[in-house]
């Protein structure tokens, strides 16, 4: 799958999209969903929660595993994708179109990788 060029990535395979409204959307990369297998259930933090970069924002259950999801940037949660919670399989079918949480008061994180750097990171890991 093509890695969308407008996204930034954490080494833990979460993507972040900085919106025009100054908020940030967070989701899982294609690599992450592939490693997870069929997603069965998503547990997310609550609206109003304050997170820092690297903090756990929730976990994803597949059939035989549970994986923590780490917040790539600091901020306050203003929205949780309720629709995705009811249809967790979308993480598998459309990872870059399925956001988990939206943050405001987003803190800068210089350790994020851009699309190209993330692609390189994946290639080296193999």
């Amino acid at each position: 799958m093509e890695i969308p060029s407008d996204l930034f990535f954490a080494k833990t395979h979460e993507w972040v999209k900085f919106t025009d409204e100054g908020t940030a959307l967070v989701g899982l990369s294609d690599h992450a969903q592939d490693a997870l297998g069929d997603v069965a259930f998503i547990n997310l933090c609550d609206e109003g929660d304050s997170l820092s970069a690297g903090e756990i924002l929730g976990d994803i259950e597949s059939i035989k595993a549970v994986s923590d999801v780490y917040c790539p940037v600091g901020g306050t949660v203003i929205a949780v994708n309720e629709e995705l919670l009811d249809n967790p399989e979308r993480v598998n079918s459309d990872p870059y179109g399925s956001w988990l949480i939206e943050l405001e008061d987003v803190e800068k994180n210089n350790e994020l990788l851009d699309a190209g750097a993330y692609e390189k990171f994946l290639a080296e890991a193999d």
């Binding site: 069929d38 069965a40 259930f41 259950e61 059939i63 035989k64 399989e89």
Partner: protein, 478 residues
């Protein structure tokens, strides 16, 4: 496919009967009355018997064949144990009978307790926990109470190796400890340097099993105990792997302070499709006051119940899985001191034999003799053929063998863990070895066959994704 018992139900059919009541009917007052229907089956006895008999034929037990499940100790379940546990003088005793009328039960518990303390090198024991994990929770609660009693309220951390069985950290979390995972060495042992780093004055305990979950005996156990005790922490022993060491060494002598025993593993009581088990907790004298209540005491030749002075309370009602304890007692009496050691020695012998014979074919990640179980890694096979540990397991099902434990411990990728136990003959082992080698060959010659396996069972691989995404957890009567 026989269908569910509910699908065989026919209105008006009966199986059981009671004698006439003999007293007047008593009507439940309307406000307490059940109004909704209760759909239990209505079936004749012959159909009931056929239904469950046919279900039993789609189950596979130790009585059916080889069961090399690592960490489960699927040894043969002697039938004398079943007969002793079925004695009316045990099954028909109400747990709250007067103490004068239950002398036999207390004697059985006391004798078993003595034997288990001798085998484990511990000073005191409770038979109350109903399973290994239940024992873990009990032992950890005792550790917590002990430390709090000493005023050591800062000891909140429980150290667990990353190779540990899932119940270890889960039980620790139930006892409100912070779980500190420490990585194992490449040989699967406790990393002493990491352990030194992890211990401190906030250490409550280290949870360990020895031999460890890759089937190797950690010879640094003396040093490990020293490190933890010096930091003021205690040592908890997960007794799941006891079958390797009975009569040879004892957790109490290795430096452990408290442990649980799995009667349904080491002491031959049957697994029952997932239970009942029994997880007695044995401890050194310093933890004795914290044992669950009641304990059985011999006072002046008479049995009585006593309450340890600082007991953590109760972890289940009454005294434990008593009938399971009776089975374990019968087993120990049957095999005796020599038989106990023989069981462990042959468990080790059988495991090493299988490992040696499979070494040429499968990847055995760890050097040296194993204990009662060993691990194979299918990581390399997966890279070469796309065949996973799960695929090999399903291929073995088609060879009539229950697969070994899959994907445990987590520190070995694509792991298969084998524990033959001592109650298998050489020809059973040889036959299994042949089957394992055949399946390995199929992985290269016809991998699709393994992806499709099993084909010889009533059903093939179930769709687990749908089962999780759209759970159907009961029959729908509508």
């Amino acid at each position: 496919m026989s269908g569910l018992i509910f699908e065989k139900s026919k209105t008006g059919r009966r199986c059981s009967s009671l004698p006439d009541c003999g007293v007047d009917f008593y009507a439940v007052p309307d406000e307490f009355k059940r109004k909704t229907s209760m759909n239990l089956p209505e079936i004749a006895e012959v159909d009931l018997v056929r239904h469950y008999t046919n279900l039993s034929r789609r189950a596979y037990g130790v009585d059916n064949g080889f069961y090399p499940l690592g960490s489960c100790t699927m040894k043969y379940n002697p039938k004398i144990n079943e007969d002793t546990a079925a004695l009316k003088g045990f099954t028909n005793i109400h747990p709250l009978q007067d103490i004068k009328t239950i002398k036999g039960c207390l004697e059985a518990m006391d004798i078993l307790s003595g034997y288990l303390c001798e085998i484990t090198g511990m000073d005191a024991i409770t038979l109350q926990p109903a399973a290994g994990a239940h024992g873990e929770f009990t032992g950890l609660s005792m550790i917590k109470a002990y430390l709090l009693d000493k005023g050591e309220t800062q000891r909140s951390k429980l150290i667990v190796p990353d190779s540990a069985h899932g119940t270890n950290p889960a039980s620790a979390a139930m006892a409100d400890f912070d779980v500190i995972n420490i990585p194992s060495t490449a040989e699967g042992m406790v990393d002493l340097a990491e352990l030194e780093k992890a211990v401190g004055d906030d250490t409550a305990a280290l949870m360990l099993t020895n031999p460890n979950t890759v089937g190797m005996f950690d010879k640094n156990i003396g040093k490990i105990a020293e490190i933890v005790h010096k930091a003021g922490g205690l040592l908890y022993y997960d007794g799941a792997n006891m079958n390797a060491i009975m009569g040879i060494t004892r957790p109490g002598d290795m430096g452990f302070d408290v442990m649980h025993i799995n009667l349904h593993k080491t002491f031959s009581t049957p697994h029952g499709g997932g239970g009942p088990g029994s997880g007695p907790v044995a401890c050194k004298a310093k933890l004795q006051p914290f044992l669950p209540k009641p304990v059985v005491k011999l006072d002046d030749g008479k049995y009585t119940f006593a309450e340890p002075e600082k007991s953590i309370g109760m972890v289940r009602s009454f005294y434990g899985n008593f009938l399971v304890c009776v089975r374990a007692l019968a087993y120990i009496m049957s095999i005796g001191a020599e038989g106990i050691r023989e069981a462990s020695e042959n468990a080790v012998l059988n495991a090493n034999y299988m490992m040696e014979m499979l070494k040429g074919t499968y990847d055995v990640p760890f050097e040296g003799p194993c204990m009662h179980e060993f691990v194979l890694s299918l990581e390399s096979l997966k890279k070469q053929t796309g065949i996973t540990a799960s695929d090999i397991a399903k291929g073995l099902v088609d060879k009539g063998i229950h697969p070994p434990t899959m994907y445990f411990p987590l520190i070995v990728h694509e792991a298969l863990m084998l524990e033959p136990t001592e109650t298998e003959s050489r020809e059973t082992l040889d036959s299994a070895i042949t089957a394992f080698k055949e399946v390995y060959t199929i992985a290269f010659e016809n991998p699709q066959a393994l992806h499709d396996a099993p084909l010889s069972t009533p059903v093939g691989r179930p769709d687990e994704t749908t089962a999780v995404r759209n759970p159907v957890l009961r029959f729908d009567f509508s």
